[in-house]
Symmetry: C2
Subunit: 337 residues, 2 copies
DNA sequence: GTGAAAGCGCTAACAT
DNA sequence: ATGTTAGCGCTTTCAC
């Protein structure tokens, strides 16, 4: 067990195997024209010395890294974790490895800067392409493959995976309206994201369709964090004429609403119907109704898209829509009363 | 928005700013001795060109990467996610960035090989040190800083973060014994891990202390996955003289036990007491009693240890013990009857 | 089938 | 204060 030995290089292998570095390199890269005799010798030396290729050096020359990067907000964010699971699954089925970068809290300043930095770093340094979850920046001055999940509203430029956000919000609203609710509060998400826009539009259109005029006071603004779910719910429930139902535009905010309802002694769903988009956190155990989207699938699909891009394969669409799905976990006994 | 331009190098910056590459490099690395005039010129060129430094090239020369690697099992594994949150928090407070590598399913073959490969890759290529969660391999032929979380039993060689596994198991057993249980089943974890050993020893010692002789049939072997929780519970409950309580050596396996109990129509905890180590998954919503350990804290602490190692700081202990904590979420009405 | 040598983009002496 | 130059470890022509 040699201790402080310096890192083993291809030179060391070459020397010990009494061949040139180029021959070792050939073996390392599975080139055909190496005598199987030398091949085996080299292989055994590699094993002996415990040599592993220095990725940095390799990628510097060959420009092929077999690595994809995943850039996402702070992983305290459950959505990101779900995505990561899906990405991981696709990676396991591929020849690529995964590098994960987190940009820190969504609300922290400097996020956009981080994101830009990481994208550049990853693409021109060590990875062949990147997946960005809920990005901040809209453009990246690089031409390496990028796929985003839950992209910016303003950015139709590059491939992305979306949920059927509009339809999902409509489904949620139609459910609530069907129960007889007339005053339905809404807590919005990060305004710059497409998902947030589409969900809000679903909310508004559903009201219009039902012939209910929009009351701006019933819309609280949030950013997809539990904290804004709490503050949104407090704001809405403090109204003179509070809503009988609250549609939180994601699951984390729905949890915030749930907390506030508990504190105020409101029973769910009898005193207050709560519905959330996405289904990740504890909400499923608490019986909140949700619009599910198959988040880990989004990661899976995005990864497959990215790999195709990297390999230069063509594929039909630049965007992919995941179906959402209304799940009623709890029904209301005296709704709209 | 120039499209297919090849990647911008330090040379391009130097040329455009009419200085040498070394001057650019100095600016990039915040060296003092650059005229603030040239400094600004260079900075603005960098901005213009959208230049970012090629990490691979840099790390190849400087051997300083400001990156720590986290190597862990497939992230479907909830323990790993918790750890990652803690690591991420420590990273956010530091000058380092985080690279995450997953080695795939614990049960898949080739894991040890992957792990070795990643450790080498990460340490000699792109990161300054690594954290390994629940490792497979016991030794690594590199001398870069390594910290492990939930390490192998056989490996006192390098720094690690443990839970107070023995004490936790004792606490759990004393609780069950205190309820009057005489036949307590046990489902073991991945045998090669220290945590598994210590927990099992706690189980055995607690029985001995209570004067109950060990019945080997009451020990089912598992590997910390829900599947083995299921199979273990099936095995134990199929005994002629089945246990009245089951101590699953982690939370995921406790969930497996819970599932089996449900299927068999056993009420928890009245028909069967179930206790699990760790507290991560749904078990907390289902009222299972658990021995909590503050898993994300383990990630946090491990990261801080690693950073100290990287910076060459000395610190007292090579290992760190996280306290565990028995949480009774559900009490039993007719236990031991 | 194998070796020599150039060079990827960068940093760190060593010059000036 | 700035430029010149020698590599870091690897892959890849181009020889032989």
């Amino acid at each position: 067990m040699p201790k402080k030995k310096r890192t083993v290089t291809i030179q060391d292998v070459a020397k010990k195997a009494k061949v040139s570095v180029s021959t070792v390199s050939r073996v390392l890269n599975g080139k055909a024209d190496v005598a199987s005799d030398t091949q085996h010798r080299i292989l055994s030396v590699i094993d002996d010395l415990g040599y592993t290729t220095n990725l940095a050096a390799r990628s510097m020359r060959s420009h092929k890294k077999n690595l994809v990067g995943l850039i996402m907000p702070d992983i305290a964010y459950p959505f990101a974790i779900e995505v990561m699971k899906g990405v991981n699954r696709a990676i396991a089925e591929s020849e690529f490895d995964l590098l994960v970068y987190t940009t820190g809290d969504v609300r922290k300043s400097g996020r956009a800067w981080h994101e830009q930095k990481y994208v550049s770093l990853l693409t021109n340094s060590i990875s062949d392409g990147v997946i960005i979850v809920a990005p901040v920046a809209g453009e990246f001055n690089i031409d390496a493959p990028i796929v985003s999940i839950d992209p910016l509203a303003s950015n139709p430029n590059f491939p992305a995976v979306h949920a059927t956000n509009y339809q999902g919000a409509m489904d949620a609203m139609e459910y609530l309206l069907g129960l007889g609710h007339k005053r339905i509060g809404y807590i919005s998400g990060r305004a710059e994201l497409e998902s947030s826009n589409r969900r809000l539009k679903g909310y508004k259109d559903a009201l219009k369709k039902a012939g209910i005029s929009l009351d701006e006071k019933l819309i609280a603004s949030g950013d997809y964090t539990t904290e804004t779910g709490v503050s949104g719910a407090q704001q809405l429930l403090a109204l003179k004429n509070p809503p009988t139902a609250i549609f939180a535009s994601n699951d984390q905010m729905a949890m915030g609403v749930y907390q506030v309802a508990q504190e105020m002694g409101l029973r769910i769903p009898d005193d207050l119907s709560v519905i959330g988009f996405d289904n990740i956190t504890e909400s499923k155990y608490l019986g909140l109704t949700t619009v599910d989207q198959f988040i880990s699938e989004m990661g899976y699909v995005a990864t497959q898209m990215l790999i195709k891009l990297i390999n230069g394969e063509k594929f039909e669409s630049q965007t992919y829509k995941m179906q959402t799905h209304l799940v009623i976990r709890n029904s209301c006994r005296n709704c709209g009363s």
